[in-house]
């Protein structure tokens, strides 16, 4: 089966860039975890299981607020992961009909934002050997960043640790800001979410009356609901815009 071997190798190659791009963000959350005295073994296990930088950052945020109600973690994490339902849904139509249930179940946890975008850009239907290939390097990159970030922080001087407090936030800014150049809707959503988050922080009743972590949930639900009501996104339009931009470059 030389065709499936070729597809596997193409998948591997496409995954390398994603894998490298995961390292800094993974290191950044690991540095944050290390600063919070997260036990190293459990952090490795959690990272290997969850494999989500933004989700783990939210968990660290809740832990640092002292949240002990597991329901809050589940709710926050579910809201953050919910977009993967959509990714999986649209990806399921892109897969070749002979990609079996076993391959789909195996690939499911590796379906990250970036892998999803690359897979969707491939011409034609997707075969399981390609999915297997593209899953490998991103996961290795993530785990390399997680391990290196944690071990490396413990041997750093205080002055550098303090400066690295901002690294994780810079990574998130790097995810949020570039799309703002392309869509005024995104600009509005980010400004709105920032304003709501800040206002919630300033209301003493929210801070003392509600479980820690609820401001994040309130902020997300409110922003997305307002965005969806007042700035509905037409998925066809978005795709068209992307096409136009690609052709310009």
């Amino acid at each position: 089966m030389s065709e499936s071997k070729e597809l596997f190798q193409k998948g591997l190659r496409d995954g390398v860039a994603i894998g490298v791009s995961y390292i800094p963000a993974a290191m950044a959350i690991s540095i944050a975890a290390s600063k919070q005295n997260f036990p190293f073994g459990i952090w490795e296990l959690m990272s290997a299981l969850l494999y989500t930088t933004s989700g783990q950052a939210a968990i660290l945020n809740l832990l640092s607020n002292g949240t002990t109600v597991i329901f809050i973690y589940i709710l926050t994490f579910s809201i953050m992961t919910f977009r993967h339902v959509l990714f999986s849904l649209s990806l399921s139509q892109k897969l070749d009909s002979n990609v079996g249930i076993f391959s789909r179940m195996l690939f499911a946890p590796f379906n990250s934002d970036e892998i999803y975008s690359i897979v969707m850009q491939q011409p034609g239907k997707i075969k399981s050997s390609y999915l297997l290939g593209i899953s490998i390097f991103p996961y290795l990159g993530q785990m390399l960043g997680i391990s290196a970030g944690f071990l490396f922080t413990q041997s750093l001087p205080e002055s550098l640790k303090s400066a690295m407090g901002i690294t994780l936030y810079a990574v998130f800014l790097a995810l949020v800001v570039p799309p703002m150049r392309k869509s005024m809707h995104v600009v509005a959503a980010v400004v709105l979410a920032g304003a709501i988050s800040w206002i919630l922080e300033c209301i003493p009743a929210v801070k003392s009356g509600l479980p820690a972590g609820s401001p994040m949930i309130i902020c997300t639900l409110l922003t997305c609901a307002l965005g969806a009501i007042f700035m509905p996104v037409n998925s066809e339009d978005e795709k068209l815009e992307e096409e136009i931009e690609k052709n310009n470059i």
Binding site: P24, A25, A28, F38, P39, I42, L45, M46, L49, L50, S54, I59, N61, L63, I70, F77, S78, M80, F82, R83, V85, L86, S88, L89, S92, Q93, L95, R104, M105, A108, S159, A163, M164, G165, I166, Y169, A170, V171, F172, L173, A174, L175, V176, V177, A189, V190, A193, G194, S197, E201, M216, C219, T223, C224, G227, A228, I229, P232, V233, S235
Partner: protein
């Protein structure tokens, strides 16, 4: 931190995250047509990341001034279309320089 709590948390969240990704991939063939739901999902990553950033970023370093400088650098480089690695390194470097060299001039 309570190790047992963290272990339970890891496995429970893994279950949720796995089912959310696996069920649509294995069982669903239809496309989401609802415009409200599609738009809502589209905004989730931006809303979540922004609510993580604000206002915590301003207390993430040793001083407000260095944190603001780090944010400004990250936002400007982001608007210039720089990649994540450049943004993360530059922002961290600016905070380090400001905390260790510039702020000392005023103290």
């Amino acid at each position: 931190m309570d190790s047992k709590f963290l272990l339970i948390l890891s496995f429970v969240l893994f279950g949720i995250s796995y089912l959310m990704r696996m069920i649509p991939l294995v069982f669903c063939k239809g496309k989401i047509k609802n415009k409200f739901l599609n738009s809502f999902l589209y905004y989730i990553p931006f809303a979540v990341m922004t609510s993580i950033i604000i206002p915590e970023v301003f207390s993430s370093t040793s001083s407000l001034a260095s944190a603001i400088s780090g944010v400004v650098v990250a936002v400007v480089l982001g608007l210039l279309g720089q990649n994540m690695l450049v943004i993360a390194l530059a922002s961290t470097a600016v905070v380090f320089v400001i905390e260790n060299f510039i702020l000392h001039l005023f103290n």
